[in-house]
């Protein structure tokens, strides 16, 4: 492995071309508000929400429009002032069909009215969880796990360190980078809130070494807080994956099948932290987020504040449109994101970017038999056996697939990235996971 002197996780990882320069220097700008928004009622992992509005209802900015009683869930709020047009099935970014609230936005949009709550210093742990829950916060790095649940770790597993994931290791994406550069103080305040919520001792912001401007700003922001620290990490994918980040920062490894609380850690995404700050300081629910619209297929890449429910076609238009004919438009990052058939899918809370790739960047070939080069094993950050999982899936041997680590794989894509036989491991792993889940009932 290349040595850089910075901390990193122990094994595996890859060095793709990052292409961050396309928009790492571009300040966050506001995206246009579409006339029609499609807000999925379920944008998180957990119980689905029931709609709280019906067609014809008038909604205000930040009004709750979907909620569930279950603990593992997150309510959804209206991103705009407007009228509910319909509640119907829409196609989500990952191809699933979800129920969505279609809202016709008013031409004039009033600004969000900040609600003054308790001062930040006086919020108790319970208050902070409540705020996160009410604001519908979820992990904004893509997994979309409800933040309230994450901030309620099991009693017997005390959290020592809260880690903010400022790695943004996915190629092309720069929205977290911009948030760290532009709002370091808000981020630090949010980190303090999370530390209080889980009763941790210290907070660490882990940033990859390719964002030194953010590191400087953050170091200045934490300089008078002895319990907070900024850790510069090696530039390597997937440095920002939860378990890898913990390993890089603390040297501890979360055992297979366990949560980070097992090793006393809690990881939060930069976007989520900022959203928590906004919710705590101004009562603002999570109905808009910063994301990156980029790639060589976009004329003017940029970082935008976008209302949830905005179709990505609007964003691409706002960035000058597509150049020529791009081969792929991806929601999320190019390593783990979802290639889109069309540009209709709406932005959700977990959408970190829209990346348009041109044909030169696409390298797909016919799958060859595995030549056992071990590159996937070397690249796998979880040290599972990607090629044996594939072989087991091809033979329909689900026990073997599990033995070789199908359930430990978090689909980072390192194996496929480096495979000279062009085997799509992630596709096979997903199949294995689904089969094993049904077998286990």
């Amino acid at each position: 492995m290349r040595k850089t002197g910075f901390k990193t996780f122990r094994r595996g990882g890859i060095h793709p071309l990052y292409n961050k320069e396309l928009c790492s220097g571009k300040a966050i700008a506001r995206a246009p508000i579409p006339s029609r928004l499609m807000v999925p009622l379920r944008q998180h992992i957990g119980a689905p929400n029931e709609p709280l509005v019906s067609p014809g209802d008038r909604v205000a900015v930040g009004q709750k429009i979907g909620d569930a009683d279950a603990f593992v869930s997150a309510p959804v709020h209206s991103p705009v002032a407007g009228i509910v047009d319909a509640i119907e099935d829409i196609k989500s970014f990952n191809g699933e069909t979800v129920t969505g609230v279609i809202i016709a936005a008013d031409a004039e949009q009033p600004p969000f009215e900040a609600r003054q709550g308790k001062p930040l210093d006086e919020l108790t742990a319970e208050d902070i969880r409540e705020i996160a829950g009410e604001a519908g916060l979820v992990g904004m790095g893509g997994a979309a796990f409800p933040t309230r649940v994450k901030l309620s770790p099991p009693e017997d597993k005390p959290i020592e360190s809260v880690i903010i994931n400022g790695c943004e290791c996915e190629p092309f994406l720069t929205c977290d980078h911009r948030l760290m550069v532009e709002r370091p103080d808000d981020l630090v305040q949010a980190l303090e809130l999370m530390i209080r919520a889980v009763g941790a001792d210290r907070g660490i912001i882990g940033v990859e070494a390719n964002k030194m401007d953010a590191v400087e700003k953050l170091r200045a922001a934490v300089s008078d807080r002895p319990n907070l620290d900024v850790e510069v990490l090696e530039v390597k994918y997937p440095e920002g994956a939860e378990k890898q980040l913990i390993s890089a920062v603390t040297g501890r490894e979360v055992p297979p099948g366990n949560l980070p609380s097992e090793v006393g850690c809690l990881v939060q995404n930069v976007g989520t932290a900022i959203a928590l700050y906004e919710a705590a300081s101004a009562g603002k629910p999570l109905y808009e987020r910063v994301l990156t619209v980029t790639g060589p297929g976009v004329k003017e890449p940029g970082n935008l504040i976008v209302k949830v429910g905005t179709p990505i076609s609007i964003l691409i238009e706002a960035c000058g449109g597509l150049t020529g004919d791009p081969a792929k438009v991806i929601i999320g990052g190019p390593m783990t994101g979802w290639a889109q058939e069309d540009l209709d899918a709406p932005v959700v809370k977990g959408t970190s970017g829209v990346v348009a790739l041109t044909p030169e960047l696409i390298d797909i070939r016919e799958e060859h038999a595995c030549v056992r080069c071990t590159k996937c094993v070397e690249a796998c950050p979880m040290s599972v056996m990607p090629n044996f999982i594939v072989e087991a899936v091809q033979n329909g041997d689900w026990e073997k697939a599990e033995l070789w680590g199908a359930l430990d794989c978090f689909e980072c894509g390192c194996c496929t990235f480096t495979c000279p036989a062009y085997i799509p491991h992630v596709e096979y792993v997903r199949k294995a996971k689904a089969e094993i889940a049904t077998l286990k009932g």
Binding site: R10, R11, P16, L17, P171, S247, E253, P255, P256, N258, L322, D325, A327, K328, V329, G332, P334, M335, T336, W338, A339, Q340, E341, D342, L343, V355, L357, L361, I362, D363, I364, H368, A369, V371, R372, C373, T374, K375, V377, M382, S383, V384, M385, N387, F388, E399, L403, D408, E411, G413, F417, T418, C419, P420, A421, Y422, P424, V426, E427, R430
Partner: protein, 380 residues
């Protein structure tokens, strides 16, 4: 907007630049080039004829076999070329071309394609073919070595082939293309000198073996002649320096895994030192480096896990040492690697790779028995 043309494959959407099978094979061909050049210098153009026949036969065998087996012809991945070249490397520089062709067909047509094609073959194809020749009636053609620079007496471009003549001592003569006898002399390899006891420190005695002009006055090969290539041997093992240059390139490109040559050479050296054998001739005199860097590292026939690779490499190193010290043959690299090619199946199945975060790092994968019991419990 050209929406209808958007592709929708599963993530990841990027692929490492130039990380293809062809590139790896091209790397190997390139890495073997210095050794080819030196071999031509030492043994003349005969080397080129042999390599050409071997590679062309390998390519043709692949095309024909894949057609017959109704597989897609994949000549473009260059793997047949690599097998052809490596097979040629294992032959004496005067192997008759028809023997070369038979061997190259055995390598690619049988050892690779009949086993299922690139990726499915259990044995290193070139090695399996080489050993097959060695135990066949054709053995005599592939076990006699001419002395270095023999071409000075017969001409640089003259094709020379080993031929059998029962009326002479050793049964071997060398013939030109027209069937005329040519003036080349059989010579011992450093390892066969060792095997015959001629190089043991105390027993260097008697006349210099026939034709061993590269041996020093003391009756031993000089260090430099074994290292740089002025010695008798197979085409590919002649110049250790050239092999090391190529190996460095492959390591730099990460086409081969450093653990395998390190383990083989380390273990081999350890055994040699412990048993008080002269390590220099053992290291440089034969095919150890060719085997350690270019054959044991074959992707398809070496283990997948880091631990497995160490076991495999150390195993090969020890096996070579034991075969050389205790067996009847002066060499041992080919047999040792083939033996561990088979054991790779077991290593891959049973030696566990510790997963990320595993607290107890088990050495063995759960055996199928436990697997069954576990799932049976799950059902009740």
């Amino acid at each position: 907007m050209a929406n209808n043309k958007l592709m929708t494959t599963v993530a990841p959407h990027l692929h490492e630049k130039g990380q293809t099978i062809e590139r790896a094979m091209r790397d190997v061909l390139l890495a073997l080039t210095p050794a080819v050049v030196i071999a031509i210098v030492v043994y003349g153009m005969n080397v080129v004829y042999i390599i050409a026949v071997s590679m062309i036969t390998a390519g043709l065998s692949e095309v024909v076999m894949r057609r017959l087996l109704r597989r897609k012809v994949t000549l473009g991945d260059l793997s047949a070329m690599v097998t052809g070249l490596i097979f040629a490397f294992l032959l004496p520089p005067t192997t008759p071309l028809w023997v070369v062709a038979i061997g190259a067909f055995l390598a690619v047509g049988v050892a690779k394609e009949l086993f299922g094609g690139l990726g499915k073959n259990v044995f290193n194809p070139a090695l399996l073919a080489r050993v097959a020749l060695m135990i066949s009636p054709l053995a005599l053609y592939t076990t006699k070595f001419v002395e270095p620079f023999y071409w000075r007496s017969v001409g640089f471009f003259t094709p020379v082939a080993t031929s059998i003549d029962n009326s002479v001592v050793g049964r071997v003569v060398y013939k030109g293309l027209a069937g005329n006898n040519v003036d080349a002399v059989t010579s011992a390899t450093p390892l066969s000198l060792l095997k015959s006891g001629r190089l043991l420190v105390d027993t260097v005695a008697g006349a210099t073996p026939v034709g061993a002009t590269w041996v020093t006055d003391a009756g031993r090969p000089s260090f430099w002649s074994t290292f740089l290539g002025f010695k008798s041997g197979c085409i590919g093992e002649v110049c250790i320096l050239a092999l090391l240059i190529g190996a460095a390139y492959l390591l730099y490109r990460r086409t081969i895994d450093w653990r395998i040559p390190a383990g083989i050479i380390g273990a081999f050296l350890a055994v040699m030192l412990v048993t008080w054998n002269h390590p220099i001739y053992q290291l440089f005199g034969g095919g150890l480096f060719l085997g350690a860097f270019f054959m044991a590292t074959d992707w398809v026939t070496s283990p997948m896990t880091r631990r497995g690779k160490w076991i495999y490499a150390v195993g090969i190193g020890v096996s070579i040492a034991l075969i050389r010290l205790l067996g009847p043959l002066p060499e041992g690299v080919a047999i040792a690697i083939l033996q561990w090619n088979v054991l790779t199946l077991l290593i891959d199945r049973y030696i566990a790779e510790p997963k990320f975060g595993e607290v107890k790092k088990p050495w063995f994968n759960r055996l199928p028995v436990f697997q069954k019991r576990k799932s049976a419990e799950g059902e009740t």
